[in-house]
Amino acid sequence: MGCTVRIASPLRSYTASAATLAGRGRTLAEVLAHLEQRCPGLRFRMIDEQNRIRPHMRLFVNADQALELSAPVRDGDTVHVVCALSGG
């Protein structure tokens, strides 16, 4: 059993349009590394070269914002990838 990852629509070109992916890992860093294996390039859209969450991307574990990649992820959690949208 792992976690569920919900992907913001601007990033779904990396997931073959999938809105939800199965994730695996005990921390956010591990979950993103696992995702990167299946969706090359996805992690870099969220995380910069200094391993910081990009300021227009927000990551949440369930309803709580994860500010660090070391944030724990437990079985059954949902990781939400949210991107600042600009359309009006």
């Binding site: 601007p10 090359p40 870099f44 300021p55 914002q65 991107c83 600042a84 009006g88």
Partner: protein, 371 residues
């Protein structure tokens, strides 16, 4: 001011609600609300605020009505094509409810005029379509201590949050920095016509709640809506002590215009297979690899030139006269930034290799070594 007989009839369904009643309706009549952006979001928001009896309703937009707007911007009719959105929309709102005062602002919000315009209102709704405008409006609301209800949309997805001065996080707390061209505009990515109807109506709901003092505002919470899955989600957002505008030591104390953003549609998105087809057709676009030298040395596309991203601002002259260059990096992030730089330097139609060389290796040529 007491409600007139005609107002009592018009707002009877509101008056029947204990949460609104005469007192709430009078608060609505006294309210001054500015809707910035008379587009997909601003249309339903303004319509419902006008119908609800919002006493002074400002509508700000510098654009004119285009045919492609009418799929979702329900404030306009086909006969309005070519007209100022603020003026045509303002007339529509006044026809809907002649008992309110509608003020059209047919202009673009800038640092130079934002303070003066927003000072005349008690509450602001942001329905603009540019991140730079979103930050300007947020900063103005923080500095002027005006509540802000901000919404945004993309394809089938929307977001909503409310800022209450001194009580909760602002838009910059939620998103300290914009994505620029990393997020395609509605024009590029498309948008379901009814989507801004949902989000704009939620904005009007928040505004009415704030005016009459009912319910729980969406402060400290980010609401997202996925129309395809018909799913609302809610996330806790905290005020950031280091926020540039509402934090403990703000660096933004005066309004300023952001650096110009690239025009919508300015950056072309090119998939790895799309680039392969382009090359197979005999096209010879300038391929600019913006990775570091050691990454380039390990493996690169044949014919590509290496200009590390950090050197690009000084070396943009090397692109002179070369239309439609394709920028390449490892995974598509740096090359997107390069496209933005190129656009600002008036380079024509730059393209971004989406997913970068990792996508190329995965989809086209697995023999390509990518560090």
């Amino acid at each position: 001011m007491p409600l007139s007989d005609s107002a009592r009839t018009r707002y009877q369904r509101h008056l029947a609600l204990p949460e609104v009643g005469s007192a709430g309706q009078e608060k609505l009549a006294a309210a001054r609300v500015l809707v910035v952006g008379a587009g997909g979001l601003g249309s339903p928001a303004a319509l419902y605020l006008a119908a609800a009896g919002c006493g002074t309703l400002g509508l700000l937009d510098g654009d004119r009505v285009e045919l492609s707007n009418l799929q979702r911007q329900v404030l306009f009719a086909t006969a309005d094509l070519g007209r100022s959105k603020a003026e045509a929309g303002g007339e529509h709102l006044a026809r809907l409810n002649p008992e309110i005062r509608v003020i059209a602002h047919p202009l673009e919000l800038r640092a130079a005029n934002a303070r003066e315009i927003l000072s005349g209102y008690d509450l602001v709704l942001d329905g603009t379509d540019r991140l730079s405008a979103r930050y300007l409006i947020n900063d103005a609301c923080v500095l002027l201590r005006r509540p802000l209800v901000s919404a945004a949309i993309h394809r089938f997805e929307g977001q909503l949050l409310t800022y209450l001065p001194g009580r909760g996080p602002c838009y910059r707390c939620a998103f300290p920095q914009g994505a620029g061209a990393a997020v395609a505009s509605c024009a590029e990515a498309g948008v379901l016509g009814v989507l801004p109807g949902v989000l704009g109506t939620l904005q009007a709901t928040e505004a009415i709640k704030l005016i009459i003092g009912a319910g729980e505002p969406l402060s400290g919470r980010l609401l997202t809506y996925d129309a395809l899955e018909m799913r609302f989600s809610e996330f806790r957002i905290a005020r950031r002590p280091d926020c540039a505008v509402c934090g403990e030591a703000p660096s933004i104390t005066e309004l300023r215009d952001a650096a110009p953003e690239p025009a919508p549609g300015g950056v072309r998105r090119l998939s790895a297979t799309g680039l392969r087809e382009l090359l197979a057709q005999g096209a010879a676009p300038l391929l600019v690899d913006v990775r570091e030298v050691h990454e380039f040395s390990a493996g690169h596309l044949e014919g590509s030139v290496n200009i590390p991203l950090g050197e690009l601002p000084q070396r943009l002259g090397e692109l002179a006269g070369r239309a439609a260059p394709v920028f390449i990096c490892r995974s598509g992030g740096r090359s997107l930034a390069a496209c933005q730089l190129a656009l600002r330097a008036q380079v024509s139609a730059p393209a971004n290799l989406e997913g970068g060389l990792l996508a190329w290796a995965a989809q086209v040529d697995p023999r390509l070594p990518v560090l």
